[in-house]
Amino acid sequence: MTVEDRVRIVRAILRKEYRHIFRDPRSLIAAFAIPIVLLMLFGYAIDFDVRHVDVGVWDEDRSQESRDLLGHVFASGTLDHVLDVSSEEEADRALVRGDVKVIVHVPARFARDLARGDGATVQSIVDGTSGPFAGLALAYVQGSVARYGATLASTQLAAAGLSDLPERIPPLAVRPRTWFNESLESRQFTIPGLIAIIVMMLAAQLTSQCVAQEFERGTIEPLIASPMAPWELVLGKLVPYVTIGLGQVTLVTLLALFWFRVPFRGSFLLFAFASGMFLVGSMAIGLLLSIVTRSQQLAQQMALLMTMLPSLLISGFIFPVRSMPFVLQVVSLVVPARYYLSIVRGVMLRGAGWAAMAPDLMFMAAFMLLITGACVWRFKKRLA
């Protein structure tokens, strides 16, 4: 067989695959509409900045001082004063029912303790099941109470003629500066991640069906009977879906840049290259499952198992990989979304270059070659 023959065969397969795809316009439209809808939805909905925390107040002191303190607590607008309770039972009930996440409890001795100079305490009862917000809400309350304390201290020091002291103590201070997301909006972090997740999920699912479908329908027979080599079939099946995938990536990234104003500080070429490799790898997973299981139901279940849930939870999309147990960090090495996510975030948010992203790129390349190779090998076995 000459090279021309092989090229002709591959082109024939490509034509057939493209025709299949366009014959099902609903799937095609869905393939482009879904990513857009999802990005819009999550871009607006996913926001884990602490904006509102419902807080209840249990003020047993009811003094001018306690009112001042509470004024400081609710001054920032992040903590919302939504209800008042007057006993421990009421406080517990409010927390169990979820009406409030935190209860600020000012004990009856508050003003007295302040006046005596002994140091007063305020209790904050937090619903520990409210997730990361428990910790953050606590931090907000502590911060505003500390600010109240600081104003008290300044007044006292000024009265003693030591008003320059607050600027000198403590003698060590931290001067923080934030890079890459100065406004500290969680959206800037989530959206690049979403690009990766959305595309990844669709990728594997699309291909997981295609070969299994042929096995189930019996249309695989003519392919087996033909003089086609397995790698030509794999190539022919992957290319059309990868093109669709690249279209999805472009669409979704443009949306992120121009609608959500997520920055793009790095190289487009690097981004495109990584996206291409990622798509090939993910689709090859679906293809491999297809070939191995020959059953659409099973292929789909396995594709879901291996792509959606791990990609969501172990890739670093929501939770940082570094804070996971070692075993999981090792498992995440085989989740391709992890590398793609790292590259997307690096390129878009930090302007990282080829050298910085080299380890991730290498892993992705290795992964892609491995899986595509496995596809060809398994398909050869099936055909034999």
Partner: protein
């Protein structure tokens, strides 16, 4: 009238068919357990293993003490660099998430009475992590600064004056005293795993028969549409219940998540929830003509359901329109109910509105799905 005998016959056939492919068994029973185990470990918001780069331009006993204090907090993975420029490239490449520059005059601060400032550079990409890192570093530095504060005060003749914060906050944390995120994430992950399995199973079920043409064969039997559909779902209900027991066992005995409420209530709530996922899967089935479409539709619906359910991201933060929409999502109620039953010891009286919402949505979805399927049946 629905004939119990015909329904039972269909259910038996479905059981046999489902388990005929032995490879499905691990998918149905082992996969949820594996998923919960993996994801239960992955899901955590705790501040750990923050990569921190430090440039110590002072190299005195005091600066070493500061670096030690940071190291001992067990929160950071410290790498020391020689030059501040290296910190920059570390941040850009992502090798470090935060960088600390200790100024050369750190240890002379006591004498001059001036304030020394330590520059902290934060990678703001993950904003909550950045904020938490800043808080940690600030509190460590504050602690280390206390002896210096005494020094300054002594210089001013204020010896022995204890600088104390006038007001301190004493936290009391209910239900999860260690604030371990795993404890509240596991019930949520449980709900998610159940959702994915039951919805996708049901979604593929009817489409498969439609693709194969076996629906027409059923059509010539006296079996009615409702009997056929309910019988079809029978094995899935069984699988789902078994999964509830299995993953709850993992949550209790592996993750040591407390179950402060009753197991019976847990099962009841799960049943209420399963009616909704079965209904949803059925609806997807009736809307699709090929398995590929069913799968794509299921995926398109499952991703928003999981991410907007309030399990990973707070519903309070979402725009009002989406928040309203989430009222229609059974997973939202199931997530709340599970957390309450596991961690707060919630009972039926505090959860009846969640149960009612799920049942209502489930029955409506099922009825609607059955009506739609009936049309394609005859």
């Amino acid at each position: 009238m629905i004939s119990g005998r015909r329904l039972a016959a269909v259910a038996r056939k479905e059981f046999i068919q489902l388990f005929r492919d032995r490879r499905m068994l691990p998918m149905l029973f082992i996969a949820p357990v594996v998923q919960l185990t993996l994801l239960g470990y992955a899901a955590n918001y705790d501040l750990k293993a923050v990569t921190l780069g430090i440039v110590d331009q002072n190299r005195s006993a005091m600066s070493r003490r500061l670096v030690d204090a940071i190291d001992q907090s067990q929160t950071f993975e410290i790498t020391e660099y020689d030059r501040p420029e290296a910190l920059e490239s570390g941040l850009i490449s992502g090798r470090i998430e935060a960088a600390l520059e200790i100024p050369p005059d750190l240890d002379r601060v006591g004498e001059s009475g001036d304030r020394a400032s330590i520059a902290l550079l934060l990678d703001g990409s993950n904003s909550n992590r950045a904020l938490a890192t800043r808080g940690q570093i600030e509190s460590i530095v504050l602690r280390e600064a206390l002896p210096l504060t005494d020094l300054v005060l002594r210089q001013r003749g204020l010896e022995g004056v204890e600088v104390k914060a006038p007001v301190t906050v004493v936290p009391k944390i209910l239900f999860n005293p260690t604030l371990e995120s795993r404890v509240f994430m596991v019930p949520g992950v449980l709900a998610m795993v159940l959702t994915v399995i039951t919805t996708t199973l049901t979604a593929m079920a009817i489409v498969k028969e439609r693709e194969r043409g076996t629906i027409e064969q059923i059509g010539v039997t006296p079996i009615r549409a409702s009997e056929w559909i309910l019988g079809k779902m029978a094995p899935f209900i069984g699988v789902a219940l078994a999964d509830v027991v299995l993953v709850t066992a993992v949550a209790l005995f592996w993750f040591h998540v407390p179950l402060r409420g009753s197991f019976v209530l847990l099962t009841f709530l799960s049943m209420c929830y399963i009616t909704t996922t079965l209904g949803l899967g059925l609806l997807i089935s009736s809307l699709s003509s090929t398995q590929q479409q069913a799968m794509l539709t299921a995926l398109m619906i499952l991703l928003p359901i999981n991410l907007l359910s309030g399990i990973f991201y707070p519903i309070e933060n979402m725009p009002r329109a989406i928040r309203g929409f989430s009222l229609l999502m059974p997973l939202r109620y199931f997530g709340i109910a599970l957390r309450s039953v596991f961690l707060k010891g919630g009972d039926l009286s505090s959860l009846w509105d969640e149960a009612a919402a799920m049942l209502a949505i489930g029955i409506v979805t099922l009825a609607f799905a059955i009506m739609r399927s009936r049309r394609g049946f005859r």
